[in-house]
């Protein structure tokens, strides 16, 4: 019923095509991969936004939006993603399936062609990007970076990651930093663009009712003119197994907030997407803080009422686990101690069988649900492509089903607290 095909369309241009009749839309994406690097991250992040401003055929946003409206309200959205130490930049598009159009439209071909146009044929002046577009989008990017402080939960995780991985590419945010964003010029951005077109691996993705041949033909035509001149530059991934110092480091910041945010960063002792114990890591994370039956939720939130939320999440490509919680300022020590005590319970096997099974069911269920959601499936396959893996969500489900209690406690035992970030209010 669902058929997944991988093929290489051009040198370094790979297509993952998922054929299924489940959805009313087709999802199409194109992603250029670059090593995450403080020097280039902001320019890379800016690029899809500038490209999305106008093409030779549709030179402004109004005419691009009009073209999308004609494709039954299709969308082409800039996407800037961090997958471990790779930065993925490009576009994600969603279009109505031909079957639901009110006329005999071939939406896929038109959509692919429009996406190719946005990627490859920007409106230019003096042999480069239009200055007005670069300046406008640069200022939006700077605003977006500054606005990261508005949402305090994600801000605390961003700051934790910056502090904990300060010397590693992973410490770089997907948008780069404000200073380098503000310094981008139209010329510099054009050079970056040419470099990416020449050297970046390109991941194409399709999910919808069309077969892989039709998709490959549509995308090959759409990418005609991609200058694949240079050597491919594949991003690397480094996993730091252990904490970077003997004692966990505490970073405290004060802002004008009424609720504190406590975030803890752990190294997973090397456990990550490429390792044998990855399924156990997934189950452990769900057991510890990934679900409403997790240790953190039940104890730190429900039993002790220490916080409004407490959860853990994994960065599977980096071997990092982050714990995030919202607490009253005065509860810092109590909350921290309880979060660590619950980790000890996972290590020593102090959890019931129903907790373990609940965690396993949550992981399985999330993976199965991924297959039912176009956007999540795209993100899954992009991640796999970045990691050089071809395991489907279903194959991973089979491995998760086989995880044992011993494997969970073993992987829990590998967690090492590296850095604590605490955001508190201003004293007045």
């Amino acid at each position: 019923m669902t058929q997944v095909t991988h093929r290489e369309l051009l040198p370094g241009v790979r297509l993952t095509a998922v054929q299924t009749n489940k959805f009313k839309s087709n999802l199409l994406s194109v992603t250029l991969l670059a090593p995450l690097d403080a020097k280039t991250a902001s320019a890379n992040a800016l690029l899809p936004y500038v490209l999305r401003r106008g093409t030779r055929e549709h030179p402004d946003m109004e005419s691009l939006s009009a073209a999308l409206d004609e494709l039954y309200g299709g969308s082409i959205e800039p996407a800037v993603r961090k997958k471990g130490e790779a930065q993925g930049i490009g576009f994600v598009g969603s279009f109505l399936d031909d079957a639901y159009a009110l006329d005999d439209a071939h939406i896929l071909e038109q959509a692919a062609s429009l996406m190719g146009e946005v990627l490859l044929r920007p409106v230019t002046e003096d042999g480069g990007f239009k200055k007005e577009y670069v300046e406008g989008e640069r200022s939006n990017l700077v605003d977006r970076i500054q606005a990261q402080i508005n949402e305090k939960r994600s801000y605390s995780l961003l700051r934790l990651t910056q502090e904990m991985c300060a010397g590693e590419p992973y410490g770089v945010d997907r948008l780069g930093d404000e200073k380098s964003a503000a310094a981008i010029t139209a010329e510099g951005l054009w050079e970056r663009y040419q470099a990416l077109l020449a050297h970046a691996p390109v991941e194409l993705y399709y999910c919808g009712s069309a077969d892989a041949d039709r998709v490959a033909a549509a995308l090959t035509a759409a990418l005609d003119g991609l200058p694949r001149a240079g050597e491919l530059e594949e991003p690397d991934h480094s996993v730091q197994d252990n904490a970077t110092q003997d004692q966990p480091r505490l970073v405290t910041e004060s802002l004008d907030v009424t609720q504190g945010k406590l975030a803890l960063g752990f190294r997973t002792g090397g456990a990550c997407v490429w390792e044998e114990d990855y399924p156990a890591l997934l189950v452990f994370n769900a057991l510890y803080g990934g679900t409403p039956t997790s240790k953190l939720f039940l104890n730190v939130r429900e039993k002790l009422s220490l916080c409004y939320f407490a959860s853990s999440m994994l960065e599977k490509f980096k071997g990092v686990m982050l714990v995030s919680s919202g607490i009253e300022f005065g509860n810092y020590e109590k909350a921290r101690d309880e979060i660590l005590a619950q980790l000890d319970n996972c290590r020593t096997g102090a959890f019931e069988d129903w907790e373990l099974e609940g965690a396993r069911r949550a992981v399985v269920s999330a993976l199965r649900a991924t297959m039912d959601a176009q956007g999540r499936l795209e993100d899954y396959w992009l991640g796999q492509a970045v990691a050089g893996l071809e395991e489907s969500p279903q194959d991973l489900v089979d491995r998760v089903e086989a995880v044992t209690r011993e494997q969970v406690t073993a992987v829990a035992g590998k967690m090492e607290l590296d850095t604590i970030y605490f955001l508190k209010g201003k004293e007045d």
Binding site: M61, D69, G73, Q146, A147, R301, E357, G358, R361, S365
Partner: protein
């Protein structure tokens, strides 16, 4: 029991009404591995004054949301955990006019549905559990009060409305929720959580007959279909005040601009108004309009720009919001564009393509089981037939949209809310 096919959009819907008044809708999707069940009551943050057994009850702000949190407690433990232990992802939300409980699961659907129907219909509150929840929700209220998006939206409601309870925060305040007791919760549950005031909407790989049987087995045999509510005197046409301004820890100013639309009657007209409102927004400042292109290139708005139409009992509004370094200039530019449309009418090409665009987006939204189930429930409470939207949409003409732009988007009906960066942040 009846089954209806909607061939244009490839949907088939099964519907029945039980003797206790509960309406059940099932959208069968055999090709999916997940299923989604949504059990909703026609009761939200704004339903603070209501009649039960002949007597009027006044309840503090925040009860509907408080109740939502407390419903997960059962005599034997916590339903959230029972569902999660089955691998289901359960959750709930309280909006201005609806409280909904739902789960998504890929296995043990029947067992999960029993848990859902049971914990929502059987109340279990103790003074201790209420006191504890006051602590947890107090934290949530603090978090919401730190959230500029939330604050800017309520700022707009406070500008538009003089007294309609839509302007009261759904979560209430730390003070208002302190007045909630176990008895308040039992009263509100008795009034609003009876099957006659609820609907069950299911989407996924399920057997509709089995859904009906589980509902018959678990739910109370009787229900009350009519719970009178009081939202105060009808509001005047104009905005209560033109502007509200607050300062918070944000980097750029954010704004929410609203227009007080006419309250929408129930039935198909309710759905028609929804589309009129959405098309009016698309036509005046939507992302494919010349105005949006101009605002964007002047740096007056950015990608965070979003807009829509919302309708609740005795009130409806058009809204647009986002980040802007000069929200008042955005308001002026929109007012000028409305004046131009008033004189010249809408461009027919523009109208044709936004209609096509909105239609496609609505069909694409049917990919989401959550959208389908919530849409079915909202339509049910509004007296509409959810999947009939293509026909209702088809019949809307350019003149209809011009008419609502003329009548609703006037300066008198406009309310602007601004959140400015605190000086120390600037």
């Amino acid at each position: 029991m009846e089954t209806k096919e909607y061939t244009h959009i490839g949907e088939k819907l099964w519907h029945t009404k039980l003797d206790n008044g509960l309406h059940i809708y099932v959208d069968v999707k055999p090709e999916f591995s997940k299923s989604f069940a949504f059990f909703a009551t026609n009761y939200g943050g704004m339903d603070m004054r209501f009649q039960l057994n002949g007597a009027w009850h006044d309840t503090p702000a925040g009860v509907a949301h408080f109740l939502e949190h407390k419903m997960f407690d059962t005599k034997d433990g916590n339903a959230l955990q029972d569902l999660a232990a089955n691998g289901a992802s359960p959750n709930a939300f309280t909006s201005t006019d609806i409280t909904g409980y739902y789960f998504e699961s890929t296995e043990k659907f029947e067992e999960n549905l029993k848990i859902l129907l049971s914990f929502v219909s059987v109340p279990y509150f103790t003074p201790e559990s209420v006191a504890k929840e006051q602590g947890i929700i107090g934290q949530e209220i603090r978090m919401v009060e730190d959230d500029p998006q939330n604050q800017v939206f309520y700022g707009m409601l406070e500008a538009l409305y003089a007294h309609n309870p839509v302007r009261v925060s759904i979560a209430g305040t730390v003070e208002s929720i302190a007045k909630i007791t176990a008895d308040t919760l039992y009263d509100c549950h008795a009034a609003f959580y009876n099957p006659g005031n609820m609907t069950l909407c299911v989407c996924g790989n399920v057997d509709p007959e089995q859904v009906r049987e589980i509902a018959l087995e678990v739910l109370p045999k009787e229900g009350i279909t009519d719970i009178p509510r009081d939202y105060g005197e009808p509001e005047s046409e104009g905005a209560f005040r033109p502007e509200t301004v607050q300062s918070m820890a944000v980097s750029t100013p954010i704004f929410q601009l609203g227009w007080k639309a006419d309250p929408a009657p129930k039935g198909e007209e309710h759905m028609r108004r929804q589309f009129l409102g959405e098309l009016a927004c698309e036509a005046v400042f939507g992302t494919s309009t010349p105005l949006y292109a101009r605002l964007y290139s002047q740096g007056l708005v950015n990608q965070s720009f979003s807009y829509g139409y919302e309708a609740y009992p005795q009130c409806a509004m058009l809204t647009v919001g986002g980040e802007s370094r000069d929200p008042r200039a955005v308001r002026q530019a929109i007012a000028d564009e409305v004046a131009r449309i008033r004189r010249e009418g809408l461009d027919p090409t523009l109208f044709g393509r936004i209609k096509k665009g909105v239609y496609g987006a609505k069909v694409r939204a049917l990919n989401s089981f959550e959208n389908i189930c919530i849409g079915l429930a909202q339509s049910h409470f509004a007296g509409e037939e959810f999947f009939r939207f293509p026909a209702v949409f088809e019949n809307i003409g350019k003149a209809d949209v011009e008419d609502v732009i003329r009548r609703w988007m006037t300066p008198e009906r406009t309310g602007l809310s601004i959140v400015l960066p605190k000086e120390e942040q600037a």
